[in-house]
């Protein structure tokens, strides 16, 4: 009896309480903060579409939670077999966006399915992680790799990245590339190849500036480099967000008291700048706690990877951790004026069904790997 229970304890799925607690805490913070961000509209007496954001976010979290349980329950090794199927399906969805999607603010990111808008580029993040993990799993050579050896993962990343750039959505494409780089970074690569890679990047940046980036994307980057130059245009968001964060001070203004938010100086406070709302309400103390939670989540995912029993699981954990990390880094970086404004969400904090579902499914996969080590 004792023996049996010990065996079941070691081999049976075990819920990773730290991961769960960390996610639940961040999601609760996110919901509470979103209420502050939308309170401006809720109490104005007119329940416009914006005021419903909070309620629908609760629905999305619930749906996301169910999906996460599903993602955690099914053994992740089954995913490996279906990886390419999923990936192809995702690419088709991306193509559909380009063909069918309605334009929103000069870019096409959505497909309307029934009554809700569906953003395939978000879900591709998970599919990309799965397919790259599968590639790593099936390529267990020991010697350092050259670029030629990495042709397949590069192509796997470049195709969706190019499709997303065509929407155009620079931020998401960047997340793809950075996540993929983080996964591939686990492999051993020849030193000479790294040097060549560096040189390649150094040439690609000016070329893409000239031919690939759209004017509004360039404007965001130039206004980031010189935010005071154009305070009413592209620099406005960044400047007001930075002011809001600074306005929070050490202890913050208190819940729903941040003036930058309450007086409507923060544009896109639900999707792009929820952190600015949070920082204004809770100050450095609250921000440090939040930052610590995200940091813990990222490091814990590396820990999970190190405990994984196969390469697929390890790569999956690293991939999800990297995805979370880069989202957090870019979103907070742009809110603080460290990085240019690219529409990247803060996982579990930002409003948006696709974003919430993607984060939740990713975390479910992380739990999956953690439970089956």
């Amino acid at each position: 009896m004792v023996q049996a229970s010990r065996i079941s304890f070691r081999s049976g799925p075990q819920i990773d309480m730290l991961l769960l607690l960390c996610c639940v805490t961040i999601a609760s913070f996110g919901l509470v903060n979103l209420y502050s961000a939308t309170s401006v509209y809720i109490e104005a007496g007119k329940r416009s579409g914006l005021a419903d954001i909070y309620v629908s976010q609760v629905y999305w979290i619930v749906v996301g939670g169910l999906l996460a349980i599903l993602a955690a329950a099914i053994d992740y090794r089954h995913l490996e077999r279906l990886a390419y199927v999923f990936y192809l399906g995702g690419l088709i969805a991306l193509l559909l966006v380009l063909v069918l999607g309605p334009g929103i603010r000069g870019s096409t990111r959505w497909i309307q399915v029934g009554s809700f808008n569906f953003q395939p580029s978000e879900f591709i993040k998970i599919l990309l992680i799965i397919v790259l993990s599968k590639y790593l799993h099936n390529d267990p050579r020991m010697e350092p790799r050259r670029w030629v050896d990495l042709t397949v993962p590069i192509l796997l990343t470049a195709i969706p990245a190019a499709l997303v750039m065509a929407q155009p959505d620079l931020g998401t494409a960047m997340i793809y590339v950075l996540t993929a780089v983080s996964i591939v970074a686990m492999l051993r690569i020849r030193g000479a190849s790294l040097v060549w890679g560096f040189i390649f990047c150094a040439t690609v940046v000016p070329v893409s500036w000239k031919w690939v980036l759209r004017d509004y994307q360039k404007a965001r980057i130039t206004s980031f480099l010189d935010p005071e130059h154009d305070v009413t245009g592209s620099g406005w968001h960044a400047l007001q967000s930075r002011t809001a964060i600074g306005n929070g001070g050490l202890t913050g203004h208190g819940y729903m008291q941040g003036t930058q938010n309450q007086f409507g100086f923060l544009p896109d406070q639900f999707s792009d700048f929820p952190f600015a709302v949070f920082a204004e309400d809770w100050g450095l103390l609250g921000c440090t706690l939040l930052l610590g939670l995200y940091c813990l989540l990222c490091i814990w995912s590396i820990h999970i990877a190190s405990q994984a029993k196969d390469r697929f699981g390890a790569a999956l954990a690293i991939g999800v951790g990297a995805m979370i990390f880069w989202h957090v880094f870019f979103n907070m970086g742009m809110a603080m004026g460290l990085l240019p404004v690219v529409g990247i969400t803060l996982p579990l904090f930002s409003y948006g069904g696709s974003s919430v579902l993607t984060s939740m499914v990713g975390l479910g996969l992380l739990m999956n790997v953690s439970m089956r080590r």
């Binding site: 309170s39 401006v40 509209y41 109490e43 104005a44 007496g45 267990p140 020991m142 983080s182 970074a185 686990m186 492999l187 051993r188 007001q240 930075r242 002011t243 809001a244 964060i245 600074g246 306005n247 929070g248 001070g249 050490l250 003036t259 930058q260 309450q262 007086f263 409507g264 100086f265 920082a279 100050g283 450095l284 921000c287 440090t288 930052l291 995200y294 940091c295 990222c298 490091i299 590396i302 990877a305 190190s306 994984a308 029993k309 196969d310 390469r311 390890a314 790569a315 690293i318 990390f325 880094f329 907070m332 970086g333 603080m336 004026g337 460290l338």
Partner: protein, 643 residues
């Protein structure tokens, strides 16, 4: 077996984890560092910016000071001007428009133009909500009509705009001045003084020179920006607004002038027949300016924008095109040869120098031969002494003085300058033309060739290079009348707050006392009296009855050149001499001094004297009326005390 292979595979990753953890920590630390920088180190800057975002400072309008005359009559004040606008997207062109046209009394052609503009704007998406100006400065009755029918006239708006108003219109316009809108240059210059685009400031005259007193100071009220969430306003204001929340506006200071509007109006009446000229009336005992007129004049109300910008622009265009230079304040901003009005000062110089006395005679045969030139006189006066020479304005006598070896040109200039001629008076209204008393050194600097004695002869009769402005002439005659006291001219008597408390009073100021031998002065005065009263006097024929005055006529020759931009067929006008008269009244115990200049008026006796004598007559009537009124008041006081 397969499990073992997989385990060793994971080993390839193992060495990466530590680096990944380190990289992750490093980037999070960077974010944390940035947070500390923004929230703690630069916290105050951002808090200040956030505060400025939500606090709005509303500027509170002030009231420009009122300008009054010596008797408290308002010369310049403020009134609302009602402008009528139409919002193209809201107006009903079928039903409303005809009524609006009818109420505004617009002409059909003008109404058609406006209607087209409205229909054009209504079809333009960007302009359909922008007001179209229909009419400026609409009559109060029309405003009342428009407002009573407000509900039937959708899209028609009446907007009050404060404008400066000048109840007496053109009266003394150059002295009082007018307003203009600030331009970009002013805004950069005056930024620290709180001018903002759209403000008006004094452009010329008193309005300009006393701008800092008249203007007042704007107030500010701090408010919280409108917030989308309904929260108690007081609570928010208490939380976010720094004291003081309200700074009340300070109204501008009122200014009382020394001008008497009634006298001023009489001056304008007397000048009615003349095209261009200037009159100055000064109080002999104080140096205060009682009236000042420059012709042609302008309507300061229109120039200040009272009838809209189009009317202002049109008025300026016309004024600047006029060859009679209406914008020029001819009382002080232009200098003219004094002509014979300078002769009393030549006489005084000669008497002081001992060159002539009462018995000195000259034989006038129509001129004076000096060197190889013949200097002409106005007629043949035969044997004249100083008295007759002044009365009949005999040039020959004064040529003889100028030709005397002891009479240098500098001597004449010295006497002229002592009486304030050829020197700025410092009245402080408009820019002054200084005029000139030529001296030897002046000729040396300005004139090619050697100095010639003929210059002194011309200077002795007020011709040649000598020029004065009209105010200088009036003040110099005031000094002759009061026995040699030259006053600093005054036009502002006191400054008051808007509730009437006197802030500052300006007592008369003596500039200098010229020492004159009483005997000499008496001789001059009797000559000036004779000019008006004696049958041969140059002013006698044209002096109206009841004008007890003394003075000197003058006819200033004009250099025969065609001014630019003048129709050649009208050149004769610009070649006519200036007519002058300067004097004082009453002749016995002088109280006022007067200087009249009629530009291109011809002979002084014929043209300037009627004007001067009419002013003096009116002034005497006004004085007597005031005296009897005050005497009556004193009588009634006494009788009340008695009863």
């Amino acid at each position: 077996m397969s499990i073992l292979v997989q385990r060793s595979d994971v080993g390839e990753f193992r060495r990466r984890y530590r680096w990944m953890v380190l990289g992750c920590l490093a980037l999070f630390l960077m974010l944390f560092g940035r947070l500390v920088l923004l929230q703690v180190i630069q916290g105050d800057i951002h808090r200040g910016q956030a505060r400025r975002n939500i606090v709005r400072e509303v500027k509170l309008a002030t009231r420009r000071g009122v300008i009054r005359d010596a008797e408290g009559r308002v010369l310049a004040s403020n009134r609302p001007s009602y402008n009528v606008y139409v919002v193209p997207s809201q107006v009903d062109l079928e039903r409303t428009w005809p009524r609006v046209v009818q109420l505004l009394g617009a002409e059909p052609a003008q109404a058609a133009v406006l209607k087209k503009r409205i229909t054009d704007s209504a079809s333009d998406e960007r302009r359909k909500d922008q007001q179209v100006l229909l009419s400026v400065d609409v009559d109060r009755d029309v405003v009342a009509m428009l407002e009573t029918h407000e509900t039937e006239l959708p899209g028609v708006e009446v907007v009050p705009v404060p404008v400066r108003s000048y109840p007496y219109g053109e009266v003394s316009a150059h002295l009082i001045g007018f307003m203009r809108e600030v331009d970009g240059e002013d805004l950069t210059d005056l930024d620290s003084r709180g001018y903002r685009p759209g403000d008006r400031l004094g452009a010329v005259g008193i309005e300009r020179r006393w701008e800092s007193y008249l203007r007042g100071k704007r107030g500010t009220r701090k408010t919280i920006r409108a917030m989308r969430r309904m929260v108690h306003r007081e609570e928010l204001e208490g939380k976010y607004l720094d004291e003081p929340r309200l700074i009340s506006p300070v109204p501008g200071r009122d200014i009382s002038l020394t001008i008497d509007v009634e006298l001023q109006q009489s001056v304008e009446r007397a000048m009615r027949g003349q095209l261009a000229g200037a009159v100055v009336v000064v109080d002999v005992r104080t140096g205060r300016l009682l009236a000042a007129t420059s012709k042609p004049t302008y309507d300061p109300g229109v120039l200040s924008g009272g009838r809209g910008t189009d009317a202002t622009r049109e008025a300026f265009r016309r004024l600047y095109a006029d060859p009679l230079k209406p914008m020029l304040d001819k009382t002080i901003s232009a200098a003219y040869p004094p002509g014979s009005t300078f002769k009393p000062f030549t006489a005084l110089a000669a008497l002081e120098e001992g060159v002539v006395d009462a018995a000195t005679e000259a034989d006038c045969r129509g001129g004076y031969e000096y060197g190889r030139r013949f200097f002409r006189c106005t007629g043949v006066h035969r044997r004249v002494r100083l008295h007759e020479a002044l009365v009949q304005s005999c040039n020959t006598f004064f040529y003889a003085i100028g030709a005397h070896e002891r009479m240098q040109i500098d001597r004449l200039a010295k006497v002229g300058l002592a009486f304030g001629l050829g020197n700025k008076t410092g009245i402080g209204t408009n820019p002054e033309a200084r005029g000139r008393m030529p001296t030897r050194s002046w000729y040396a600097r300005r004139y090619k060739g050697a100095f010639r004695g003929g210059f002194t002869l011309l200077a002795a009769i007020g011709q040649g290079a000598a020029t004065v402005n009209v105010l200088q002439l009036g003040l110099a005659y005031a000094a002759l009348a009061n026995g040699g006291t030259l006053f600093q001219p005054q036009v502002v008597r006191s400054i008051e707050t808007s509730d009437g408390t006197v802030v500052q009073e300006f007592p008369p100021r003596v500039k200098r006392i010229v020492s004159i031998d009483p005997g000499h002065l008496a001789m001059i005065k009797s000559g000036l009296h004779g000019v008006v009263t004696e049958r041969e006097g140059t002013a006698h024929a044209e002096t109206v009855a009841g004008a007890d005055m003394a003075g000197k006529t003058g006819t200033a020759q004009v250099s025969h050149v065609t001014p630019r931009g003048v129709d050649p067929s009208k050149v004769w006008y610009f070649n006519r001499d200036h007519a002058l008269f300067a004097g004082y009244a009453p002749s016995g115990t002088p109280e006022i001094a007067i200087a009249v200049l009629v530009e291109h008026g011809g002979g002084g006796g014929k043209n300037a004297v009627p004007i001067a004598s009419r002013i003096v007559r009116d002034w005497l009537k006004m004085r007597d009326r005031q005296r009897s009124a005050s005497a009556g008041a004193r009588e009634s006081d006494k009788s009340e005390e008695g009863s």
